[in-house]
Symmetry: C2
Subunit: 334 residues, 2 copies
Amino acid sequence: MATIADVARIAGVSRSTVSYALSGKRSISDETRRRIEEAISALGFTPNAGARALKTSQTMVLGLLLQFHQDEFAPAMLEYMLPIADEARENGYDILMVTDANAPQALDRITRSGMVDGVVLLDVTHDDPRLPVLRGARQPGALVGLPASTEGLEVLDLDFGEAARQLVDHLYGLGHREIILISPPKHVFERGGAYSWRFRDAAMERAAKYGIQVFPYFGESRQPAIAVSVNAFLDARPNATAMIVHNDASIAALPAILNSRGVRVPDDLSVVSLYSKNFGRAFSLPYTAVETAPDRLGQQAVQLLVRRIMDPAGAGTPVTRFIAPELTDRGSTK
Amino acid sequence: MATIADVARIAGVSRSTVSYALSGKRSISDETRRRIEEAISALGFTPNAGARALKTSQTMVLGLLLQFHQDEFAPAMLEYMLPIADEARENGYDILMVTDANAPQALDRITRSGMVDGVVLLDVTHDDPRLPVLRGARQPGALVGLPASTEGLEVLDLDFGEAARQLVDHLYGLGHREIILISPPKHVFERGGAYSWRFRDAAMERAAKYGIQVFPYFGESRQPAIAVSVNAFLDARPNATAMIVHNDASIAALPAILNSRGVRVPDDLSVVSLYSKNFGRAFSLPYTAVETAPDRLGQQAVQLLVRRIMDPAGAGTPVTRFIAPELTDRGSTK
DNA sequence: CTGAAAGCGCTTACAG
DNA sequence: CTGAAAGCGCTTACAG
């Protein structure tokens, strides 16, 4: 591979001049610049990333830490990843994708070895074991998902409390007084997926305020358990006129379940949910829903992270930001 | 961050001895090794990746190039990515995920800059614009998907021809003589997704051999076009007793479409398809299908690539390997 | 079994 | 506007 020395030789200048031509950090005469550019394209020169990283302590790579839990419904993950990768590239960064089962160790490894300038943690839990490692790392991080303590961290998440209130308000406004709520699976609560109880608790609180009934159930994440459980909830609450589904796997399966049960939406049952535009499209879902906006979350996570990388001292303190939910009415309620 | 010099100082040895202790490339006395290990864990030392890469010309990172096409159905992509990441890690490699719209340029950049030791190209097309770049790169690559010329390349793909024959044979054996085939969308053919015509052409050929009729149609990738098109195919071929669906988006939507049409499977229509176990589970698909085995494809791609990285000269010539399809009978035919 | 030294390919103060 | 030189943190022949 061509090195900066090759370029310098061919252009008849010193290596430092080539370097400055590349970085633009000092002025270069037009003639010199021309010769350097010519040599660069003649040789197809691209600076060696390792050498650059060694010298500058910057890799222009961001780590992206994904969690994959057993027995979980994965299709939505890609929706976070792609906007993150796109936003990173727009800011000049590449993405190192880390999927190790032992996430804390992997995070320790990529930060200590200086492979990344910062990290994005996806699917952060209440008591996330990656956070102690992140706090000890020299690189900053941005989280998607709300941990118990956000101290010193850039945190982004959907406002699940507000999402729950919007949905309950929507149904209450239409006159519904008995509502089934299908939450994420029990193991998501147990694992510390705070969005699960943030949504449920806000929904319950809102219902109490209005004096209406919301019946919460843990949903399932796999067939055939999903169908069995949804049918059981409906059987248990024959007077319920509406259903709130906060569970990806269950909402994806719902059209088939209701169909085979002969339940028409919204005539027999009003249904609202929580999912992204793309998710709804992939599963042809016809339900009124709050949009989870993974693209906005991912993009903003990268933006916060990049800002923090550029300015580690931090003009401002780290940000915890809740994205405002937006309801898309698809006519699945009445 | 701690450097190898810090470790050497604390352990009271030279830097080279620390390095050799790390690599195991020469024997070290027990006492020395103990002191070095102590110093390493006391300091939390991890070798700097950039320095190591600069010296060894190895980054222990693999590039993973993804294509995301407009108007496409993405949920299956993650199924390739995760096994690739897992297999890479098992071999000591991290994954640089590259999603740039301008893939040839991105590939050029990550190879020339020496960011990766090799690359995996996903979703390779007949005339893939990334291949000229890959052929000019100093790092080897492995492809998933069949290009026009496999010369000098490690190539992996499902045997779509054999998959088509298996499915046609299955239906023929049950007595079906008029079969609807829903292929990938037209733009997949036009873009050069060879799996689209490899499957279709093999199905047609097999049908001709048996003297039965297979009616091929381009499927759609988005709702509501999917439902409209599938209904149109069924209307156009009222005598068809079976359907082969080689189209992710259409098969995902099929249960709802057939349901609303009042078509029972397999009583009114036999249905076979082509999808992975996970995909089928995510969409609760009840159809007999050939498994696409993205996990095996991804794993083997990484294995071939790593072998090639270790032994660039190559004991053997590059491999083009077609994974044998396996039919899973879910009782959707009769 | 161990150490001193060169060098990988860059960037950037220092000097002119 | 440009160049010579140091140094980032490793690895590995060379030497003992």
